[in-house]
């Protein structure tokens, strides 16, 4: 991912800032700049999510693309934030710990790096809540 492409979404990736449609109240993360229900009559504003949620489904990635190869195995999940939206993120826990319905909270973590001398990508992972 190019520097500008990563840099442009730093607030969203670092601090879980998504959006909300003030017309219908729906929350969006990953952020949307057009409400799929209200479309042009929607009014989109930024919203910072509180970061707590529940694991909807998960897997343990054993074979990854080059960027993630040296971090396998890792738990990847779809997390439903308490405000409603769902996102895909890693859960920093042992593979055997992961389960559907597990409560998690967001943390700031290193995600990957663009080669040995490229940009380090930071972003959001989740950890089990009772940790």
């Amino acid at each position: 991912m190019s520097v500008s492409r990563f840099w442009r979404k730093i607030p969203q990736r670092y601090n879980l800032i998504g959006t909300q449609c003030m017309t219908c109240g729906q929350y969006f993360f990953p952020p949307r700049s057009l409400c799929p229900d209200c479309r042009r009559s929607g009014r989109i504003v930024d919203h910072r999510f509180n970061g707590e949620g529940t694991v909807v489904t998960y897997t343990v990635i054993r074979s990854a693309s080059d960027q993630f190869e040296n971090t396998t195995p890792y738990v990847l999940a779809i997390v439903e934030l308490d405000e409603g939206p769902r996102l895909t993120a890693q859960v920093a826990c042992a593979p055997e710990e992961a389960e559907i319905g597990m409560r998690v909270r967001s943390v700031f973590r290193r995600i990957a790096a663009d080669g040995e001398s490229g940009v380090i990508h930071y972003g959001t992972k989740f950890v089990p809540v009772d940790r």
Binding site: M1, K9, R13, P30, V56, T57, Y58, T59, V60, I61, R62, S63, A64, S65, D66, Q67, F68, E69, T71, Y74, L76, A77, I78, R86, L87, T88, A89, Q90, P95, I100, I111, A112, H121, G123
Partner: protein, 386 residues
């Protein structure tokens, strides 16, 4: 709208074709299709080619023109268009050809699909395929394509009584069918134990739950039905063409384990053809992973949600079963050159309906194809019949 028929099909051997280039592959498939239709290149009015990612696999864009050129059609100056919808590119290219002929705009149209995947290493191909999902918000987090389907499998197995063994039966059945298909990448039979003892890729999916990385191409010739007899004694009619879309990311779906775009496209195809499930004699579904075949059988409406695993284990989807699924061997055994797969499915159904499928022949008058892009963001369904 005019009725449309397929009058020629051609498919390369699928596999790791180290000595064959992108160009070699599509020229071979196109030549076979034209020979089958008994026509020469001058009669082609237009070309549509499905290709997911030549840009990343072989660093070549502008595939429409490239294909027209190396098929010997550059001096005819016919329109040649690349169509892209990730792994559904082939099905979509066929649909564009059908639309072009049905509309009356063109008469003799070739729909092709091609992918040359083995010129890059596995890491690059895994990363390229991940581009079929949401790069910013799935790929960025470390999602691989098998990983996304694995999350479907985890959700599915949590909610429905699908056993790990039943899931393996999908691969066993498709390898059995592939063993009877001379173009298949894998023509070896396997057992449930082969699947369960293969290495984990993304839990609960193992290596033998996954379709392979494949080079290959397929092409078909479509014409107006009223002119089909000029080309062949056994034209196969396109009874319905349907396409549907859904969210690009799996996490935004209404239901993780249901591909709503499959449900929508399947329903539309049956409505348009005025057929019911009982009329369908075989179906080629998009089994990029074993769980994908389970979902496809259910989401197309051949059985209720949660039943496909048991039915697979009971042999209902085998060659001799009530509804043979993937007689070609599917993506799992025949191989999955992403852009070519949707066109290969059409080739298989046409071959079956003509009664030319030899050892894997099923009793078929009407067949269905189901081609999926990404984790279900694009689905293309076709119904063909004698």
């Amino acid at each position: 709208m005019r009725d449309v028929a397929v009058v020629g099909v051609g498919c390369t051997e699928f596999g790791e074709r180290w000595s064959a280039s992108f160009r070699d592959l599509f020229v071979t498939a196109g030549t076979l299709a034209l020979e089958d239709a008994g026509i020469s290149g001058e009669r082609i009015d237009a070309l549509y080619v499905g290709n997911m990612s030549a840009g990343r696999f072989i660093e070549q864009e502008h595939i429409g023109a490239l294909i027209a050129d190396f098929a010997g059609l550059a001096t005819n100056h016919i329109p040649s268009t690349r169509v892209e919808a990730a792994c559904a590119s082939g099905g979509l290219a066929f649909r564009q050809a059908v639309i072009a002929v049905a509309s009356g705009m063109e008469d003799v149209v070739v729909a092709a699909g091609v992918e040359k995947m083995t010129d890059v290493g596995t890491g690059v191909s895994v990363d390229t395929l991940a581009g079929a999902a949401d790069r910013e918000w799935e790929g960025f987090a470390g999602a691989t394509f098998p990983g996304l389907y694995a999350m479907i499998a985890t959700d599915y197995m949590h909610r429905y009584p699908l056993t790990r063994e039943q899931l393996a039966e999908v691969a066993v059945k498709n390898h059995e069918n592939g063993s009877k298909n001379p173009i298949a990448q894998f023509q070896n039979r396997i057992t449930v134990d082969t699947v369960l003892s293969s290495s984990l890729v993304a839990d609960p999916l193992r290596l033998f739950d996954c379709s392979p990385i494949t080079d290959g191409a397929a092409a078909v010739v479509v014409v107006p039905l009223e002119r089909a007899r000029e080309f062949t004694d056994s034209p196969v009619r396109v009874l319905a063409s349907a396409q549907a879309s859904d969210t690009i990311a799996l996490h935004d779906r209404r239901d993780i384990s249901t591909l709503d775009a499959t449900v929508a496209a399947g329903k539309r195809a049956l409505e348009r053809s005025r057929l019911t499930h009982r009329d369908i004699d075989l179906v080629e579904v998009h089994d990029c992973f074993t769980i994908a075949e389970i979902c496809a059988i259910e989401d197309l409406g051949f059985c209720a949600k949660g039943e496909a695993g048991r039915l697979t284990a009971e042999g209902v989807t085998a060659l001799g079963g009530d509804i043979p699924v993937n007689p070609s061997g599917g993506l799992k055994a025949c191989g999955h050159p992403v852009g070519a797969t949707g066109v290969k499915q059409i080739c298989e159904v046409v071959t079956q309906i003509r009664g030319e499928a030899a050892g894997r022949q099923v009793d078929a008058e009407i067949g269905m194809t189901h081609n999926v892009g990404g984790t279900g963001a694009t689905v293309v369904v076709h119904i063909l019949g004698a």
